[in-house]
């Protein structure tokens, strides 16, 4: 793993919905969108425009690429979370969706065979199975841990079982697998597999906890974060978070293009409280008592 991979060069295309199937509590959408697939790597995402023209919803919605299919198709897993995702989950084959992608920096891959554990929370598991394939092609051992609040919010248990050395499932309510959090089972999985790298995707709180466990086990955590994004391509500055650079300096970096994958131990996890962020005092350009903050 030699530094973060370069950011993708995205294109904008009119995608066409080829299929829209339910999978557990989610929808599995397949889009024909030429030009996205080349250059796409696990961890990249696509940013979709939502709503019928003229839509009242201006901002793009981001989705991890689940898998690429033949003929320039892109697959995503969508949770019906609000009006934009609701619109997406109700698209029918033939409908047009504007797609920008691939965006962001993908998961960095180990230079040589390494034991890897992949941790997905809810739909956060969407990009992990493709990642698992790629890792296994490189001779890596892959263990997978999937967690969710309840069984219906798990995604890809079958795929995990098919692709991984071991697949462990947790649900908060115990409706499937071990009752509890992914971090309850993670130490054992890391020990068992002799894990060197943990890849994780899911809610921020989970990523933080996974990072802690990985670090405690001497493993590197690579986490794909999810900050509110307006543009998805690096021009709006809404998606920033405090991350420590190679030089040890904390900067407010754009998670869309400088992420979404960051080394977990570089993220300043202490900067969120009740959903509101904080700019660490030692971040570059942090406000001082004499400099105000403009609009």
């Amino acid at each position: 793993m030699s530094g973060a991979p370069a950011a993708a060069r995205p294109v904008q295309v009119r995608g066409t919905v080829l299929a829209n199937h339910p999978v557990g509590g989610y929808r599995h959408l397949t889009l024909a969108a030429s030009g996205i697939a080349q250059g796409a790597r696990p961890g990249h995402f696509v940013a979709l425009a939502v709503g019928d023209d003229p839509s009242s919803m201006l901002l793009r919605r981001s989705f991890s690429i689940h898998r690429l299919g033949a003929d320039d198709t892109v697959q995503i897993i969508v949770a019906d979370a609000g009006p934009g995702t609701h619109w997406l989950t109700t698209r029918r084959p033939g409908d047009v969706v504007d797609v920008v992608g691939p965006v962001g920096r993908p998961f960095p891959l180990p230079d040589e065979p390494t034991s890897c554990t992949l941790v997905g929370g809810g739909y956060g598991s969407a990009p992990l199975f493709w990642l698992a394939d790629v890792l296994r092609e490189r001779g890596c051992r892959v263990d997978i841990v999937l967690g969710a609040a309840t069984a219906g919010r798990l995604f890809g248990v079958d795929q995990a079982q098919a692709v991984a050395e071991s697949a462990t499932v947790t649900t908060d309510d115990g409706s499937l697998g071990t009752a509890g959090r992914v971090t309850d089972v993670l130490p054992e999985v890391l020990t068992r597999g002799g894990t060197g790298v943990v890849y994780a995707c899911g809610p921020m709180a989970m990523l933080r906890a996974v990072t802690d466990v990985a670090t405690a086990h001497g493993a590197v955590a690579q986490v794909a974060v999810e900050e509110s994004m307006a543009c998805g391509i690096g021009i709006c500055m809404t998606c920033v978070m405090p991350v420590v650079g190679e030089d040890g300096v904390t900067r407010m970096v754009r998670s869309c293009v400088e992420g979404p994958v960051f080394r977990g131990d570089r993220v300043r996890w202490d900067s969120w409280q009740d959903g509101v962020g904080r700019v660490p005092d030692d971040a570059v350009g942090a406000p001082t008592p004499t400099t105000g903050v403009g609009r």
Partner: protein, 318 residues
């Protein structure tokens, strides 16, 4: 179809009237992946301040009906880094740069303008006076004719004569013509309007303002009727001799060539595309081409003939 799209902004001729809006295109690099930024009339860069700034904490945005709120807090690298990297890059790809500057006091504005005065590759300077005046209880410069005028005249004094100064106005005022007149009297060569409207969204899960900065700027198609009205009022005041004629650069909710034409007919000599670039990164170029088509469909052969045309139509009405 061959509409002459050239426009003149205070003595500078642009190949076409389309610009990005400050803060909605960073410094052009990301959009250059989608189209050649040198093909636009100009790239307006994110307002830059003296030093590096981290900006506000997150959440910094909220989607609103046909618009959004933002509260970025002028995150940026500071003027030196900006000149060394961003401006140099824009120059390297042949783009025309309108550099937006922001300050907490008049001195900061002057320092920024001084740094830019001799830089090659600056097409114009846009003075973002919609930021809080540290010395005046944080009251936004653009909300007070005296503060606005103080900034504009100080910046004008240090910029070389050939370099146009655009004053960017806020719509959050009782009388925008008064502010416009103050800026022009202070030496503004053109006016950019409008900046965002002050707004707020409450997060219903956390039951507190959604933005970490509490209030934010409302932008997008939702505010277009306010932009058209402001441009109309100021252009009408110029026609009425209340203030001298200066080019107006329109901004506010432009999504299509038709929207751009609305601003132009109301009096804008150039048009910025802001928030809509988040929806469609190709929007600035698309709007340029759509605008050409709309002009052609109405028999205009020159863009400049359409500027303020609605005022003439109305004056000629029976």
């Amino acid at each position: 179809m061959s509409v002459d799209l050239r426009t003149d902004i205070a003595g500078v001729t642009l190949p076409n009237p389309l610009m990005t809006a400050s803060g909605c295109a960073a410094a052009g690099r990301e959009l250059h992946q989608f189209f050649d930024v040198a093909d636009l009339g100009a790239i307006v860069t994110k307002s830059v301040m003296r030093g590096a700034r981290s900006g506000r904490p997150t959440p910094r945005m909220a989607e609103t009906p046909s618009g959004m709120l933002n509260s970025i807090g002028l995150q940026g690298p500071g003027i030196d880094d900006f000149i060394e990297h961003d401006l140099a890059w824009l120059r390297s790809v042949g783009a025309r740069s309108v550099v937006s500057i922001a300050g907490g006091d008049v001195d900061e504005f002057v320092e920024l303008a001084t740094r830019l005065a001799d830089e090659p590759g600056v097409t114009a300077v846009e003075v973002n006076i919609s930021c809080p005046n540290v010395a005046n209880r944080g009251l936004v410069f653009a909300c007070d004719p005296r503060s606005a005028s103080a900034v504009v005249s100080a910046v004008r004094a240090v910029l070389p004569p050939h370099l146009p100064l655009l004053a960017k106005l806020s719509p959050d005022v009782t009388d925008i013509v008064e502010i416009a007149a103050a800026c022009v009297a202070a030496g503004a060569d053109g006016l950019t309007m409008i900046n965002t409207l002050l707004g707020m969204v409450i997060d219903l899960d956390r039951m507190r303002p959604q933005l970490a900065g509490l209030t934010g700027g409302l932008s997008g198609p939702a505010i277009r009727p306010v932009a058209v009205r402001c441009i109309w009022q100021v252009h009408a005041a110029m026609r009425a001799g209340i203030l001298p004629h200066r080019p107006i650069v329109g901004a506010g909710g432009v999504r299509t060539g038709r929207d751009a034409l609305e601003l132009v007919l109301a009096g804008a000599s150039a048009v910025q595309v802001g928030t809509v670039a988040f929806n469609d990164p190709n929007a600035p170029m698309r709007v340029r081409d759509e605008l050409a088509g709309e002009l052609d469909a109405r028999g205009f052969t020159r863009f400049t003939d359409a500027v303020g045309h609605a005022h003439r139509v109305l004056a000629d009405a029976p």
